[in-house]
């Protein structure tokens, strides 16, 4: 720490160069922060799922294939109820609300199980009673409601695409989710309303339930999948986490591609800083020799140069993080609101960015520092810069 003053003075020796390098690092780091935040947001809802012991039953041929209604009776029977409770039918409705760009999840569910199964949601008793009382009632997440101006009493018309029917829903309540505001982005309406519209076809997308204990999950998979194995509609019973993970798998290596951009950005930043440090050290040969003469060890020299480099990259990182936090966390801007209703720079992103900046600083200073520290004092003094 006692060398801090010297490090800063050294860095500011050529102001233009240092400012340019810091500016460059800041822009490059901003891309890294941006890319990491996008990844965090993509993974956020996948990671949320682990804790609630929820289990989904889907068609083994994939989600696009409906399940038979006959399975419900078995799932609500004693064999399954010994291991699980709160069985709920859940269909993805899809459809269009006014404009195809208005993308949010619309689920048809057995409303009587909603509070128990999705226990992280808070719904007032009065609103829940309204949901039970009216067939075309729906509830929406508070955050979603805010974005689209939904309030109690508002009618929402949704044009069907997967189902050949149009919904005429009325908002009877807003739910909140204290665990994660991202889960306040859904609309839930009644499965029996959808079934009525489709003429009682009893189409079931998935069945959900809550395992009594985490240990019951394996038993549930064995029982349910074993029973349907030789039927015309075999099932695949999965945990909520596995359920969400399948969408990641569908997206394929796009995610790896995004990560690679982050890696390349770090390489560019290291190169740029290394260039600066090489220039900076080259013009200070005499100065370094003088420092050595008055008693600084080669270790000191090495430290001073690395510290200068780290000062530059860290300042750049702090600037970009500051900007990102301001834009995304304070002003709550999102690059694509329909895909990322939230775009928050998370603490791990901040830590990784600072770590990456530190590493880039150290790596880029390594060669110049070694050269400077290893040069003989006489050579340094003799050299004309």
């Amino acid at each position: 720490m006692k060398f801090l003053h010297l490090v800063v003075r050294n860095a500011l020796r050529n102001r233009v160069r240092t400012v340019l390098t810091i500016g460059g690092s800041a822009f490059l780091m901003f891309v890294l922060v941006f890319v990491m935040t996008a990844l965090t947001e993509i993974y956020a809802w996948e990671g949320q799922a682990a804790k609630k012991n929820r289990v989904a039953v889907q068609h083994s041929t994939g989600l696009a294939n409906p399940l038979p209604i006959s399975l419900e009776e078995y799932l609500k029977g004693p064999e399954i109820q010994a291991h699980a409770q709160h069985v709920q039918k859940l269909n993805w409705f899809g459809g269009t609300y006014q404009d195809p760009r208005n993308f949010f999840a619309r689920f048809a569910v057995d409303h009587d199980q909603l509070r128990e199964l999705w226990s992280e949601y808070t719904i007032s008793d009065a609103e829940y009673r309204s949901l039970c009382a009216m067939k075309n009632a729906c509830i929406v997440g508070k955050s979603l409601a805010k974005r689209y101006g939904f309030r109690v009493g508002k009618r929402i018309a949704i044009v069907g695409d997967i189902y050949p029917v149009d919904l005429d829903l009325e908002v009877v309540g807003l739910y909140t989710c204290a665990d994660d505001v991202r889960l306040e982005e859904q609309l839930y309406f009644r499965w029996d309303y959808l079934d009525e519209l489709t003429g009682g076809e009893k189409i079931v997308g998935t069945y959900w339930m809550k395992a009594r204990t985490p240990d019951d999950v394996a038993k549930l998979k064995e029982l349910i999948d074993g029973r349907t194995k030789n039927s015309s509609d075999p099932t695949e019973t999965v945990t909520e986490k596995e359920f969400n993970a399948q969408f990641m798998s569908m997206m394929g290596n796009i995610i790896g591609i995004v990560m690679m951009v982050g890696g390349i950005v770090m390489v560019i930043m290291t190169l740029m800083t290394a260039n600066t440090m090489a220039m900076s050290v080259r013009e200070r040969v005499t100065e370094v020799a003088v420092l050595r003469t008055i008693g600084f060890t080669s270790g000191h020299i090495r430290f001073l140069i690395v510290a200068e480099s780290v000062f530059v990259t860290l300042t750049g990182a702090l600037l970009s993080l500051g900007l990102a936090l301001l834009l995304f966390n304070v002003f709550k801007l999102s690059p694509a609101p329909q895909f990322f209703p939230y775009f928050f720079v998370a603490p791990p992103t901040i830590a990784i960015s600072l770590g990456a900046a530190l590493a880039a600083g150290v790596v880029s200073a390594a060669v110049p520092a070694e050269l400077a520290a290893g040069r003989k004092i006489v050579d340094g003094l003799r050299q004309v810069v």
Binding site: V16, R17, L20, T21, G23, G24, S25, A26, F27, L28, F30, V31, F34, V35, T61, G62, L63, A64, N65, G94, T96, P100, V159, G160, D161, I162, P164, D166, S232, D233, P234, Q246, F247, M248, S249, M250, M251, G252, N253, I254, I257, M260, V261, I264, V265, V267, I268, M269, L271, M272, A274, N275, T276, A278, M279, P335, A336
Partner: protein
């Protein structure tokens, strides 16, 4: 009088380490840009251009994709009887009623992805005109035989020729691999329509209709839209695929934004390099001024030197992108159809050109201030300085 170009080349050679680092930095920025756009262009190529411009695709009103659509045999027959539909030599209507279902297939990395299975009849190939057998043979009806699109065969398990994958409770036999000029069909599995309808308990999904001429496409679209009884809508086959292109446009937009921010970062780096180049040549520049080179010539000379760095970095990045990425197979989910869309990275000559231009602009922007400073130096001061 212009400063000889050789002067710039020699300068770059003298300061080759700094120059090389700058070039590598610029090349990497270019590579990122090429990468995103190659992805976007590849995806676009798979979708835009798929289908035949004289074909009409008929689906249930409101269904956004074939996978959501459903139509009954009677409806299909009604449409086939409409006036203006092309007929073959035997007088049969050029119409193909198809059933598209989705099944998950295990990918090579162990995950699963949804693949569209198209149940087709005898006319499906005729109506596309570009479906060819790349390996093996075409499927025979009612035997549970399937042919797999070239785009997915390498990235999924158990769908090579001779494999018998179990899909929706029955084994199917892969008898061939088909190609479709890189179009979206190469991401599909094709099977016999009756086999698919029986196994998936489904009706028809869509009807592909070849119109006699371009005007008929529009006319039949209107006829279907106005007939409220039939509850079907028509769309030009090529438009249907073009409308699914949103993801590709997003990729390109995102790639551009990322490349611009990176380029701004690179401008700072290039400026640094050029400032150093100018600083170390202060006396040289003054000498040139004494010799009679104008301020403008010197400014131009340094700008050229920057441009040269940009050209080297851009060309290297674009070339590496072309060699490493072009033609590489990848895929992602097409959320409109809820199924896999396979496509190739496409590093086109146009893209390479634009990427190089971006790099040159970056380097020139970075070199502008240093070059200006060089041209402004006072001769006496510069010569006096050490």
């Amino acid at each position: 009088m212009a400063v000889p170009f050789k002067y710039n080349l020699r300068n770059l050679r003298v300061r080759w380490i700094t120059a090389a680092m700058t070039v590598v930095g610029l090349a990497l920025v270019t590579l990122v840009f090429v990468f995103w756009w190659a992805l976007g262009i590849g995806m676009e190529r798979a979708l835009v251009g798929t289908g035949h411009p004289l074909n009409l695709i008929v689906m249930r009103t409101g269904a956004q994709s074939e996978t959501n659509s459903m139509l009954a045999k009677k409806q299909a027959e009604d449409v086939a009887g409409l006036d203006g539909i092309e007929r073959d030599a035997q007088g049969g209507a050029m119409v193909s009623a198809e059933t598209i279902v989705i099944a998950n297939v295990v990918k090579r990395d162990g995950g699963k992805a949804n693949v569209a299975i198209r149940g087709v009849g005898p006319r499906a190939r005729d109506l596309r005109g570009n479906i060819s057998v790349a390996e093996g043979r075409w499927l025979k009806p009612n035997l549970g035989e399937i042919v797999v699109g070239r785009g997915i065969v390498g990235r999924f398990r158990g769908i090579h020729i001779g494999d018998e994958p179990v899909i929706r409770g029955r084994p199917w036999k892969v008898v061939g691999i088909f190609a479709a000029d890189g179009q979206a069909y190469e991401s599909e599995i094709w099977a016999d329509g009756d086999d698919v309808r029986a196994q998936f308990k489904r009706d028809y999904s869509s009807l592909i209709v070849r119109c006699r001429d371009d005007a008929t496409v529009g006319r039949l679209t209107r006829v279907l839209a106005e007939d409220k009884q039939i509850k079907l809508e028509g769309k030009r086959h090529t438009d249907y695929y073009r409308e699914q292109n949103m993801a590709a446009m997003m990729l390109k937009a995102l790639g551009t934004v990322i490349a611009i921010v990176l380029s701004i970062g690179a401008i700072f780096g290039a400026a640094n390099t050029m400032f150093a180049a100018v600083a170390s040549r202060t006396r040289e520049i003054a000498t040139m001024r004494v010799l009679g080179f104008s301020r403008f010539s010197i400014w131009l000379s340094f700008m050229l030197e920057s441009a040269l760095l940009g050209l080297a970095g851009g060309a290297a990045g674009a070339l590496i992108g072309r060699l490493a990425l072009n033609g590489m197979m990848t895929g992602t989910a097409n959320w409109t159809t809820f199924s896999e869309l396979a496509f190739q990275f496409r590093v086109t000559p146009d893209l390479m050109l634009w990427a190089t231009v971006l790099s040159i602009v970056t380097a020139v922007a970075g070199g502008f201030l240093p070059a200006w400073r060089a041209s402004r130096a006072t001769i006496a001061t510069a010569l006096r300085g050490l």
